[in-house]
Symmetry: C2
DNA sequence: TATTATTACGTTAGGCGTAAAGATT
DNA sequence: AATCTTTACGCCTAACGTAATAATA
């Protein structure tokens, strides 16, 4: 049976050209390498080298063997990585959400209910989340509506409603409600990492430019010191944050969503536990 | 670094369910298996088993590990097979021909010129031969004309001209030449393993049925005892074989071909050597 | 009691390094 | 003389099997 260490030594020899150099690099003695190469030739059952009097080199077959060896070594390394990753995934609940707000309440709840598990989350493209839940690369998805799929369960979780903050002298400030289409053309402040909200704004307000702020502090600075419109929701609304602004609800259907938890039907336990916390 | 033997033992354990059974099947002792499995867990760095008091079984991660292990073992086995095959291919000249006749003269010539090499040949689909020459899965191809490809050399080799043998009282027996189209509709005797000729007949004579004979003896029996037309060529023509028949040349361009040897340009030596024998 | 996993232990084969030899540049 | 491969030799690790232990069905 092939020995991966010997294969690695073979690859090292191929890289460094001589047994001596390879031995030096691998921190072993040259005789060891000689023996390994002889053993490899026995294993493969064919000549891999041309044995010059003072020079060992790969023949054509040897080069082929090196190709297969490198592939095998890569596979082997990948195998342990994948197994470790799989093991880790058994101890983690990975949540993929289309927006950050539902995570604020979900993650603490999960941590409390599953103290032995690592809770991990990330924002993901709305089109990929269902796929990832189904192929088991994540446990729970959060979508802005129920998933129409036999393989998964959808559970209404929390509602988020979008509003826009306008300066009092803004042309639209007197409206009691507003649509994104009406805002189209006005440049807006926007936070980064707000998931599908970003996509929604760009789709409904194609004529607008968005000044995306990564840093929370800078965002607030700009929000208070400029007259640019920006958005808040019922889940992300602080009193001092909208001071001096008119807060007008956005009436678009898509801007008032009920986030749903999505999980594979085999994981009914999520349903029970969530019901207990959010009856 | 992973040890393939241990991986094999892991797979054996997965197959047989207990260490004892696996040890028995692999002709090693149970303690050895115990140690191997412990060592594997160290290598992977994660738990692969649930250690019951009197029962060892794979956990979910272990099952995954078995999957990767089987894949790795298959790859390893395949690697030595492929390397051996490659080594063998270096000592063989594989000829792929679209028809058998040119092989009759080429193979003996090759054997004589390359006595240290194994000469191997097979009939192959006319559309694949050029590909195989180019991707080095064969050394020499034989096509019914030159190959229009920069990567290969084409050398005219031998000409084969098709004739049909008709009984003297056949409706077409008085023709001095004939086309396959004229023969269309008449059922014919045909040998098997005649390469592209078979394809040609079926294409040009779609209304005919062909009685394909695998056995040479049976073919001759039917040829002499029936009135069915059959084909001969200048390269496959024996006097007693056409006794009592009218031999009429087939005038179709495609039925009168000059076979060309096709080989990669790096193999100019074939050109010289063939010139020496067939100037 | 029979089966199974695991630990303990003694033996041994095989792998490694040092040293030396042979060969080349 | 320096570099490189290969052989020879001795040491020592580590892998194996036997035997013992423990636990189960």
């Amino acid at each position: 049976m092939l020995n991966l260490c010997e294969l690695e030594q073979l690859c090292a020899f191929a890289r460094y050209g001589t047994l001596s150099k390879a031995a030096e690099e691998m921190h072993i003695s040259q005789p060891t390498l000689t023996r390994s190469m002889q053993h490899l030739e026995e294993e493969f059952g064919v000549a891999l080298f041309v044995h010059g009097k003072n020079r060992l080199s790969l023949n054509e077959t040897g080069e082929k063997a090196v190709e297969y060896a490198t592939a095998l070594l890569a596979n082997a390394e990948n195998a342990v990585l994948q197994v470790r990753r799989f093991d880790q995934s058994l101890r983690t609940i990975l949540v993929e959400s289309c927006a950050p707000a539902p995570l604020w309440s979900l993650l603490p709840a999960l941590s409390e209910q599953f103290p032995e598990k690592t809770i991990s989350s990330r924002l993901e493209d709305i089109r990929l989340i269902l796929c990832h839940v189904k192929d088991k690369s994540c446990e729970i998805g959060i979508l802005p509506g129920p998933a129409e799929d036999e393989a998964v369960e959808s559970l209404p979780f929390v509602r988020e409603e979008l509003s826009v903050c306008l300066p009092p002298d803004h042309a639209l400030a007197s409206q009691s409600s507003i649509t994104l289409e009406m805002l189209n053309g006005y440049n807006c402040l926007l936070k980064s990492d707000i998931g599908f909200w970003s996509e929604l704004c760009r789709k409904r307000m194609p004529a607008s430019r968005f000044l995306v702020q990564t840093d929370e502090f800078e965002f607030r600075e700009l929000a208070s010191s400029s007259t640019l419109p920006y958005f808040v929701t019922n889940l992300a609304l602080e009193a001092d944050f909208v001071k001096g602004r008119v807060v007008i609800p956005v009436s678009d259907m898509e801007a008032n969503v009920t986030f749903h938890l999505i999980f594979r039907k085999e994981n009914r336990n999520y349903q029970k536990i969530m019901r207990r916390r959010f009856p």
